[in-house]
Symmetry: C2
């Protein structure tokens, strides 16, 4: 068969060009979901897909499905997707690289007059970021049966505008029932959003699955009193409890090395005054591990740490588990076509698990799924400074193309 390759220059230019929609002075993109800027990039995307022969449908959650016919259109489509929305001060690649690589695949197939056995679909999922409407991955969550349509419609932004009203306002309240849509397979390319590939000099991450995550919100209730007149034995210092727990969960992660991770990313003290002993501390714990048993053990150790700290500091501490996502494994066939494609194309690669959440994690509940990671500079993401090497971008899209084509062949038994 002919050796197809994506056009890396065209892909890169498309990324730079669409990055002007919501461009920030510091080189990033600010394109919150369902804003006028999001509508603008959606309209552009729909036209670009139609220009390569796609039919475009929109589901009730506003996700866009651009379909290119295959030889046998009774088959379930093979899909490639990600998201075009960004963080308030986001980068040019997070999500965007995945959707536009899908478009580049369609353009490559079109100019090479290559028709797949199964139809192909490129998907732009609504509100992956969750910055405007929480939680994140709202539309892929609805697609996968995690959230009901009522739940996502009632979600409101900080101004009180509902997800449904904003979908309607921007013209993307579609009629295709959400989730009533079978996929033969789903592939998502994404920047790593971490430093591992860059550090090891690898071009491609073959994503075998995702870490499990346990998120907690803790509230320490101590007693606010004067820093100059409250003897140490009489204190109920909420910050001391917070500090010991933050140090303690760090040790828990190190105990579950090399894959365990823990983060205390958010702390709010009350009254937060330099000469008042904090009476209250609100903070978060984020625990991650790719192995379910290890993750659950970390959670139990954190629970014991919190109880001990409450006793030691004479404070009351509530600990609420606000996210409980067990580790997941992607489909073995999907993962293997990604790995085989990287290998065949001569790109250095390593297997890895995803730390961040992605639409693919939800889609994997209802369709065979895998992901392709490419390096990003210094592991920086959710930041205007987000940066990708064009060579890595081309390699990732090429791996994505070949994975899709190989999967198409395997599904149809055409080989």
């Amino acid at each position: 068969m002919q050796e197809l390759h994506v056009n890396g220059s065209r892909l890169w230019e498309t990324i730079i060009e669409t990055g002007k929609i919501g461009a920030t002075p510091a080189g990033g993109v600010s394109r919150l979901t369902l804003t006028d800027l999001d509508r603008e990039v959606r309209d552009w995307f729909v036209q670009a897909c139609k220009a390569v022969g796609c039919t475009v449908t929109v589901d009730e959650a506003g996700s866009i499905f651009a379909r290119r016919p295959g030889k046998d259109n009774s088959r379930d489509p093979i899909a490639v997707g990600s998201h075009l929305d960004t963080q308030p001060l986001g980068g040019r690649f997070d999500g965007i690289a995945g959707v536009l690589s899908g478009l580049e695949i369609l353009r490559t197939l079109e100019e090479n007059e290559y028709t797949t056995e199964s139809p192909l679909e490129i998907i732009d999922w609504t509100n992956e970021e969750g910055s405007r409407f929480a939680p994140a991955m709202l539309a892929s969550g609805a697609f996968s049966g995690v959230y009901t349509l009522d739940f996502i419609y009632d979600t409101k932004d900080r101004e009180g505008k509902s997800f449904r009203d904003e979908l309607e306002r921007v013209g993307y309240l579609g009629e295709v029932p959400v989730g009533n849509h079978r996929l033969a397979g789903y592939f998502e390319l994404h920047i790593e959003q971490g430093p591992i590939l860059e550090m090891e000099g690898q071009m491609i991450g073959v994503v075998r699955g995702a870490q499990g995550q346990l998120w907690y919100e803790l509230t320490v209730n101590g007693r606010a009193s004067h820093a100059g007149s409250t003897p140490m034995p009489m204190r109920k210092d909420a910050m001391l409890a917070c500090a010991r727990i933050a140090d303690g969960v760090n040790r828990i992660a190190l105990k579950h090395a090399p894959d365990g991770m823990s983060t205390v990313g958010l702390v709010e003290l009350t009254p937060n005054s330099r000469n008042v002993i904090p009476g209250r501390a609100f903070f978060t714990i984020d625990l991650r591990h790719p192995d379910e048993q290890e993750l659950l053990a970390m959670g139990e150790e954190a629970d014991a740490l919190v109880k001990d700290t409450a006793a030691d500091t004479r404070t009351d501490i509530s600990m609420v588990n606000v996210l409980n996502m067990m580790p997941m494994k992607f489909d073995e066939t999907c993962v293997s076509v990604v790995r085989d494609s990287a290998q065949k194309l001569g790109y250095s690669h390593r297997d890895m698990v995803s730390g961040p959440g992605h639409d693919a994690l939800y889609v994997a509940r209802v369709a065979p799924t895998a992901m392709v990671f490419i390096p990003c500079e210094d592991g920086i993401s959710h930041n205007e400074a987000e940066s990708v090497n064009p060579e890595h971008m081309t390699a990732g899209a090429d791996v994505l193309l070949h994975a899709v084509l190989e999967y198409d062949r395997r599904m149809s038994g055409a080989r």
Copy 2:
């Protein structure tokens, strides 16, 4: 000689009545310095002092001096003072109890037709709290030569209004040169703002001096990165550094027990997001000890702790010493007349050092000084919930009266 006593009911009613100027719904007082409410209470205070035969002068820093003549008006006056300004959500007693006890002393002397040997003065110091114009104790600092007049005049509130302009606006830009004013002695009654007297069941704190204080501002510069994709060994976690230092300075205080104290009261993380490793932490350390050598040792230990933590966490940490107040001892004669008065009047008492700062700490630089503490409920202050037992209020004012009279006798050799 006749046995004089303050009129506790009258004092209490005066506190309740003036507490209506700036009263908050939750039972506190919000009367920031040099606001219209501060002017209102100042005008009331001036009239009340004139009603008992005082002449009133105002110095260039806006502090009010109400003078009651003595038998020998060539003598330097003996002064009683504190402040009538409050925190934004302050209580009814902090500062106010000291000024109004002074007024009650004048009223008691007046109705008993008692004339002291030396003249007496009641002082309301401007801007003790420092909530509107930082730093705190601005006017007593200028009085004592700590701050220049230019410095305090240029101080601005958050709206950019200067201390001098606001003095002028409320009509309290006086003409008496600040600090050019000798005092034979200075006594200040204040609520303890801590729990010790209440816990021990003592009515009177005989304040022998003040703790030393070392305040620091620390900035940890780490690296913000994704909590789900940054392996533990690659992290530069600013919160981890902050947590270890907060726990460490707590141990330093305990090492210098029973008098050492340390507090991390204010923490601000950046970006302060639950799934981002904090790239920056700004926080404060407050170290206190009544012994200078011990305090300096605590500062050195904190410095070493910070250096070690920076190395261990691979972060850069700057540590700026923003307050350096060495311990001070009040005048022995002044302290003894307070102690003797409490003893003679049959009130339980204990010697103690002040944790918080007070105008008396600055005045002590230029005049013999002592303080009287009374208990406050649960040690709570700088809070609308601030509460004092009326019996303790009466006892404190009575001790203040007798300390002043005894000091007056000793100064004049009249005994």
